[in-house]
Symmetry: C2
Subunit: 163 residues, 2 copies
DNA sequence: TTTGCAAATGTTATAATGTTGCAAATTTCA
DNA sequence: TGAAATTTGCAACATTATAACATTTGCAAA
């Protein structure tokens, strides 16, 4: 049984989702932002998937819902959720994941398993600081930092070893 | 006069380009890879621009050249150049820049100015190591690391100060 | 209550980015 | 040379994202 904190560890994910939605409501209230039904549903869909979800994946599920949504609907909801710090966009995948540190100030770092597709968000203060130092050394004023690491997660790494 | 190593420092860029192409030829020879005219031309175009160039930007210039190229031509050339370590793809911009460390083993880190659009590639050993440590702590095997920092470069930062 | 405004959503179309598949040409090397 | 592998040309298509404008909704001030 894996001891890692990776999200693909077996767990009752419904609880994660419920918690994330509850947190989101709180955060939006604090921001005086409106977590409308569409926005909340999009957030829920993203959370229900451990793997990053593309905008059109979201769109497809909304269609199954009977919600006859067009792309702008989804992109707007995603923009909103990003602004509220509730989801992150993974640039190297054109896809979105729920933020596991919503509400807290943090610099995300993403471990993306190429094998199983799962993504783990970390906060790595050492990395943030090193990045900061590198930027300062160039007199560069960082605004948004994207750190995405593609590779193999522990579970998949073990598997290939056995092969 | 700026003392930074940033690429927007005034210089004769033709020399950079020529040097990059010469290096590329050497590297490809070492790799037994064929730097065909199209591939070389694409590399040249990317180098001539200090700002990241999208695939369709490249395509447009090729069209001006009279080269009636289709998207796959460009994407294939870009794939090749990436494999040879001659260009980098900036995921957050869907665009490409010439690699300023071609041939050397390195972990790139990109400073992207939102104001002027220029991009500086750095090697920051501290960052690489911190990233490595973070990955190891999760038993994750990194394969490809993407670090992109959007913000304001020194030149543009000064400008806004004056405003 | 209604009026008015800003925010949010709907709708259509289109832009921008990237890929597949196959045939023709070119290069490599035995 | 001639077979095999690589590269290119080409057409069609797939995916991702945005523009523009109309409409509706939520909310607060008159």
């Amino acid at each position: 049984m894996p001891t890692s904190a990776l999200p693909y560890r077996p767990h009752n994910h419904d609880i994660c989702v419920a918690q994330a939605l509850a947190d989101a409501r709180t955060i939006c209230q604090q921001h005086n932002a409106r977590l409308t039904p569409t926005r909340e549903r999009v957030l829920e869909l993203i959370w229900q998937s451990h793997k990053p979800l593309g905008a059109y994946d979201v769109l497809a599920v909304l269609a199954e819902d009977g919600h006859n949504a067009a792309p702008p609907t989804v992109y707007r909801a995603l923009d909103f959720l990003q602004q509220q710090g509730l989801v992150h966009r993974i640039a190297s995948l054109n896809a979105f994941v729920g933020c596991t540190h919503a509400g807290k100030r943090h610099n995300g770092l993403f471990l993306i398993c190429r094998d199983c597709g799962n993504v783990l968000e970390l906060t790595a203060p050492g990395v943030s600081q090193a990045v900061s130092e590198a930027a300062v050394a160039e007199a560069f004023k960082p605004d948004e930092v994207t750190i995405e690491i593609a590779g193999t997660c522990p579970a998949c790494h073990v598997d290939t070893h056995h092969a």
